[in-house]
């Protein structure tokens, strides 16, 4: 079974989110801070939907799945308050894998349509959102 996180569109979306956050922070290339910022921005809507503990569980699950693909994330962890403890370095490249896993989990639970709507609420001005957000209205 192909997981939603493995789909090229999910990976591409994760990379665009990271690039967007990197630019917002004045950088050119996504770094670990961009990964943390994406996670932090997703924390609010996901806490609303799943509670603080629920968000922490989702992020922890996403990190576990991401570590299987990118062992360089091995030292990363989710702190009790739901924030991400990251280490700088080449692991930043694997950040997109983590974000893709988190988005993949959202798609698994509430479907692509609702997931894209939630992401659109958080990043309404994300470049390319017209073509990618809400492109598939399936449940």
């Amino acid at each position: 079974m192909t997981r939603s996180a493995d789909a090229p569109t999910t990976r591409e979306l994760a990379q665009r989110l990271l690039a967007h956050e990197a630019v917002d922070a004045g950088g050119a290339v996504p770094d670990t801070q961009a990964v943390c910022r994406v996670c932090d921005k997703l924390r609010r809507p996901l806490t609303t939907l799943a509670g603080a503990a629920g968000f922490r569980s989702l992020l922890a699950r996403a990190l576990t799945l991401a570590k299987q693909e990118s062992p360089v994330l091995g030292a990363w962890e989710v702190k009790p308050d739901g924030s991400l403890q990251s280490l700088s370095g080449e692991a930043a490249q694997a950040g997109a894998v983590l974000i893709a896993q988190l988005i993949g989990l959202m798609i698994t639970f509430i479907g692509e349509s609702l997931t894209l709507r939630l992401l659109h609420d958080v990043w309404p001005d994300l470049p390319g959102s017209e073509t990618n957000f809400g492109r598939n209205q399936s449940k």
Binding site: T48, F109, G111, R117
Partner: protein
């Protein structure tokens, strides 16, 4: 207080088919309501239907989740319903998680957070799911006053902010007494899920509704992919039966039978055709429907023992064309055999078909099949339910013909094993008799309310042209027992007896 000075309470559509009618028009605006019931009985789905039917971006719905089902899972499942509108999410319908507030700051923290969110969003609807978990966290010795104060403050806040509120909780009926929540509530919706043998029946009761008259009693409801659908006990048909200064007679499609009935069946009557298997009850019912179609009166057949195509195909064998009116929409054949049906659902089906077709005639073929299609728990109330249904349908001018299979006995003539003859205005009895070593069929008009009718017992035959009624059987006695005696034999015996004396 005159009518003009009274405050007008607006009624909001619930989004649940049939429920507005049960509530007496809709849900009172700004009311503070509780949806209670055991797990899995449809409480959350009911609330979701209401919010998706009413919430707007300008006046959104705030859906507070507490320690129960998180919104993430709620969305996963609720989006499967057709009423779910993803476009409303996060603008017209907003979810807020209060778990943290409850855990860290208790009731006061929950109240403060709800106040903050309500003041910021200006919602028209507020739902707290599950409210029970909010209170349970504080339900221990010496905290009743705190709970009561919390409920009152919450009700005051939400009403002041002109919000219509639903508190959802898993309560049992024994908790209704002395519970401050129920005292404060304007409306109390109780959902039940009853298991009887292998079937499950869902029912709801409006135990309390301030400001307007709801339909009392238990109403069945069903949950489908469209959400809840409720079936009012009365389906709004509580009016008086129509009285006609001149009763119109409807042809049965069998001229001789019309004569026997004094000109046909009176419009708006309930007619029962009783007889054993193979006596032609269904055929007579089909001829009744076909006669209506020919006269420009649309009809409905509710069949339980054969499928619609079988039903119309059988009619064709007797030269009756039901396929054409079926295709044109002047005839509907309702076929329901779910085995957990309620009479109210059947009635709703019929009423919907009446609206679609403008039907004047209804055939129920047969009552035994109808009863078999009901969930076991409804079968015990079959007579009472049938009474409500027949009364309601005849009240709107529908003429009903029901067939009833009777066990054939050769010692007596019973009209109904169900003792439902009191439900009917008119009764026709068909049965087998043995005459001269041959199994023959006879019929008689046993009862015609308010009208004169033939008392004759007639022999009849089932032909390719339908039922053909013959002459009165004059030369036999004890016909209704099924084992008649020729009069000539009796006379001979009488003469013989007289000679001996």
């Amino acid at each position: 207080m005159n009518e003009q000075s009274k405050v007008k309470i607006n009624q909001l559509p619930t989004g649940v088919p049939g429920l507005d009618e049960i509530l007496g028009g809709g849900l009172p605006e700004f009311s503070f309501n509780i949806i209670a019931g055991a797990p899995g009985c449809g409480k959350t789905t009911l609330a979701h239907q209401f919010i998706f039917a009413n919430a707007t971006v300008e006046r959104p719905a705030l859906y507070f989740t507490v320690l129960g089902e998180p919104a993430l899972k709620m969305l996963r499942y609720q989006q499967q319903f057709t009423f779910f509108d993803a476009a409303k999410l996060n603008n017209a319908v907003r979810f807020v998680n209060l778990s943290q507030d409850l855990v860290e700051r208790g009731l006061q923290g929950v109240l403060e957070e709800i106040s903050k969110q309500v003041e910021a969003a200006n919602p028209s609807i507020v739902v707290v799911d599950s409210f029970r978990t909010v209170l349970r966290s504080e339900m221990h010795e010496g905290t009743n006053m705190a709970v009561q104060t919390f409920v009152q403050q919450l009700a005051l806040l939400l009403t002041s902010w002109e919000a219509t509120t639903f508190l959802i909780g898993e309560y049992s009926e024994s908790e209704v007494r002395d519970n401050p929540v129920f005292t404060v509530a304007d409306g109390l919706f109780w959902l039940f899920q009853q298991v009887d043998r292998n079937s499950v029946v869902r029912k709801m009761q409006i135990m309390k509704l301030r400001g307007q008259a709801s339909v009392p009693g238990l109403h069945t409801f069903r949950i489908t992919e469209a959400g809840l659908q409720a079936f009012s006990r009365t389906l709004g048909l509580v009016g008086q039966r129509k009285t006609y200064s001149t009763v119109r007679r409807l042809s049965m499609g069998i001229p001789t039978l019309d004569e026997m009935m004094g000109g046909g069946v009176p419009e708006g009557d309930s007619l029962l055709i009783a007889g054993s298997s193979g006596t032609g009850k269904s055929l007579m019912a089909t001829q009744f429907l076909a006669a209506g179609i020919r006269a420009g009166e649309p009809g409905i057949a509710a069949v339980f023992e054969e499928r619609p195509n079988e039903y119309t195909a059988r009619a064709t064998e007797f030269g009756l064309d039901l396929q054409t009116p079926l295709a044109e929409g002047s005839l509907e054949v309702i076929y329901l055999r779910p085995l957990d049906l309620s009479v109210d659902e059947m009635m709703q089906e019929i009423l919907d078909a009446v609206k679609r077709t403008g039907a004047k005639r209804l055939v129920i073929d047969s009552l035994a099949g109808f009863e078999m299609a009901l969930a076991p728990s409804f079968r015990t109330d079959f007579r009472e339910s049938l009474y409500r249904m027949i009364f309601a349908l005849t009240a709107i001018g529908i003429t009903i013909l029901s067939t009833l299979e009777m066990p054939e006995t050769f010692t007596e003539l019973s009209f109904s094993s169900y003792s439902i003859s009191f439900l009917t205005d008119d009764i026709i009895r068909m049965r087998y008799v043995e005459i001269d070593g041959e199994l023959c069929q006879i019929m008689m008009v046993v009862k015609m309310r308010r009208t004169a009718h033939s008392r004759e017992i007639r022999k009849y035959q089932i032909t390719t042209d339908g039922i053909v009624i013959g002459e009165r059987l004059k030369n036999y006695v004890d016909l209704i027992t099924g084992i008649p005696q020729p009069v000539s034999v009796l006379r001979s015996e009488e003469l013989l007896l007289n000679r001996k004396v």
